[in-house]
């Protein structure tokens, strides 16, 4: 089974994040790391590859600035077989529709160069943008079914063709959904326990192939991506005023009573 896992480098969420003057996310002053939610996607891709009856391959794909290569490297260290980094100045400031456009073109090229892709695995959302829409947009652009927010993925290859089944929690129910490959899957942080790269994995990753492609390599017109081509515009971005300091009391036997008084005073009771 040929599996592509889409991975993104994001600013560390525990650092203080902010915006550039053009309202794009500041990706320079904050260290980047592989989005934690994409670690679950890499882990699941590896497990599916290793459970399949035939030999499989996991390709880690990212789109982003120079540093984004670190997201691919971490995926290779975890056990992915090869990587693709789409790197082009014109990409800066791309929104979700543009990101999905580039990723879709990249997947088509991968398919044309080295054979069809059976499964695309994404994280449920990136920890910086947190839109959680790129997987659905990617499926739309590739004309593929989507099986998203999976808490569990099962691949059945008994009839010579892959069928993919997922379990997902919607707002009101737990659902099972299935489709024939190729499909786009996104996985939640409930699905598995991502592995840490082993020393052996870190060494092996150094020899794994990573291709760097430009927009012209994947056949996307630079005018269709980047900040100027975005279909939305930020009008303003303001740091929220810090919440004004509240009252904190130490319980000396009457903490609950004082809290109840507060709730009454504010008319919550």
């Amino acid at each position: 089974m040929r599996i592509v896992v889409c991975v993104k480098l994001v600013p560390d969420a525990t650092a203080s994040r902010s915006f550039e003057p053009d309202h794009t996310v500041d990706r320079v002053s904050v260290d980047g790391l592989l989005s934690e939610l994409d670690e679950y996607a890499v882990e699941e891709a590896l497990r599916i590859r290793d459970a399949a009856s035939e030999d499989g391959e996991v390709v880690a794909v990212t789109m982003g600035p120079q540093a984004a290569a670190d997201a691919v490297r971490k995926s290779l260290q975890m056990g992915a077989d090869s990587g693709v980094h789409v790197l082009d100045e014109a990409i800066a400031g791309s929104d979700a529709p543009a990101t999905s456009l580039v990723l879709a073109a990249t997947l088509r090229k991968l398919g044309a160069d080295t054979g069809p892709v059976d499964l695309v695995v994404c994280g449920m959302a990136s920890t910086d943008g947190t839109m959680g829409v790129v997987p659905a947009m990617l499926a739309e652009r590739l004309g593929l079914p989507q099986l998203t927010y999976a808490n569990q993925v099962t691949v059945d290859d008994s009839n010579g063709a892959y069928r993919v089944q997922v379990r997902r929690d919607s707002d009101l129910a737990t659902e099972t959904v299935e489709a024939a490959a190729p499909v786009v899957v996104s996985v939640t942080d409930q699905i598995n326990e991502p592995r840490y790269p082993s020393f052996k994995g870190i060494m092996a990753a150094k020899k794994k192939p990573v291709q760097t492609w430009s927009l012209s390599d994947v056949g996307v017109d630079p005018a269709e991506v980047g900040l100027s081509a975005a279909w939305t515009a930020v009008v303003s971005a303001e740091a929220r005023p810090p919440r004004s300091a509240g009252t904190v009391v130490t319980d000396e036997g009457d903490g609950g009573t004082r809290l109840a008084e507060y709730l009454v005073e504010k008319k919550f009771v």
Binding site: S170, W231, R240, G256, L259, A260
Partner: protein, 326 residues
């Protein structure tokens, strides 16, 4: 003026039982134009009155079972059809996973900009009225407030719960059936099983006006948290640490990878206040915490906090409330 243009609202319902968020969306739609509800799937008989009460001027109905038997794409097809037919001023959808995915595919299909997780949507001021509505989003775990607008195609906007107070001015709710057959391509991802979650009898987490949440500090006993929730008529939430420990189901998780809540009052019990937890509750109007560690970061957010052991503090609060209510 956009006054007379339609604004499409995708109705969030289960078998015709319409959720409160739909009322909020119709209220927002009325600020932008004429609110049209789009009701997909079986159950319109149960929903009709509710949609009128929430002010729908029109109700488009497609009662095909295909929209519930297959994931996302059939709903995208119906909305795409309606966007072409009505050239709406905007399409509003609920900001839950499915709503966002329908929005995502619809946006790509119609070449439209998409804004997700809006906490407010306003009509543009006169100067740039043609530029479409202005949305407000809360980003980076509530640290920033961003205003944005769609610059291409039909604005597709997903709106978070509790972003407006439903206006209860009834609308005519003129029904228009949408006769269309869903394409075979839309039927690629089939829903093969659906187990409805058993209701706790408490208010729904994302819609509740008060949420009481428990974390690792409960030590696994959610009793005091549930008692306080019941005394306040509140929903119960949980931190990921509590969910990962198996103490409370995942559907109650609040935070980045759980639900986002924006109630009038959020009570965090035995929760440290990690950035990923804050991402799901920081826009709450009032925040209260009970934590035995005075240094816990949650105290940076609170309007009122008690440094103490939740196993003694919470029962005292519940008792005081019950005594007051008599």
């Amino acid at each position: 003026m956009t006054g007379t243009r339609e604004v499409l609202v995708l109705v969030d319902h289960a078998d015709g039982s319409v959720r409160r968020t739909t009322g909020e969306l119709l209220t927002i739609a009325a600020r932008l134009g004429e609110p049209s509800a789009v009701f997909l799937g079986p159950g319109i008989d149960a929903a009709r009155e509710q949609l009128r009460a929430y002010g729908a001027a029109k109700v488009y109905v497609c009662d095909s079972a295909d929209v519930t038997d297959y994931l996302v794409v059939p709903q995208v097809e119906v909305l795409e059809h309606l966007v072409q037919r009505t050239s709406p001023a905007a399409v509003l959808l609920p900001s839950n996973p499915e709503g966002k995915e329908i929005a995502a595919r619809l946006a790509v299909r119609t070449g439209s900009g998409l804004i997700t997780d809006a906490v407010d949507v306003r009509a543009a001021t006169d100067a740039d009225a043609d530029a479409g509505p202005v949305t407000t989003q809360s980003v980076f775990a509530g640290g920033f407030s961003v205003q944005a607008r769609v610059t291409s195609g039909t604005p597709v906007i997903t709106v978070k719960p509790n972003s407006a107070t439903p206006d209860e001015t009834a609308g005519p709710g003129v029904e228009e059936p949408v006769e269309m057959t869903v394409s075979d391509d839309a039927k690629a991802a089939r829903v093969t099983g659906r187990e409805a979650r058993t209701s706790s009898g408490r208010p729904e987490l994302t819609e509740a006006s008060i949420v009481v949440s428990g974390g690792r500090g409960t030590g696994g006993d959610f009793g005091p948290v549930e008692d306080l929730a019941d005394a306040l008529g509140a929903a119960v939430g949980a931190s990921r640490a509590a969910v990962d420990s198996g103490w409370y189901p995942h559907s109650y998780q609040v935070g980045q990878t759980g639900k986002t809540v924006s109630p009038q009052l959020y009570v965090a019990c035995g929760i440290s206040g990690a950035i990923q937890h804050r991402a799901g509750m920081q826009t709450s109007k009032a925040i209260v915490a009970v934590n035995k560690d005075a240094e816990a970061p949650i105290f940076e957010l609170v309007d009122f906090g008690v440094v103490g052991d939740l196993t003694t503090v919470l029962p005292q609060v519940s008792e005081a409330i019950k005594a007051r209510k008599g």
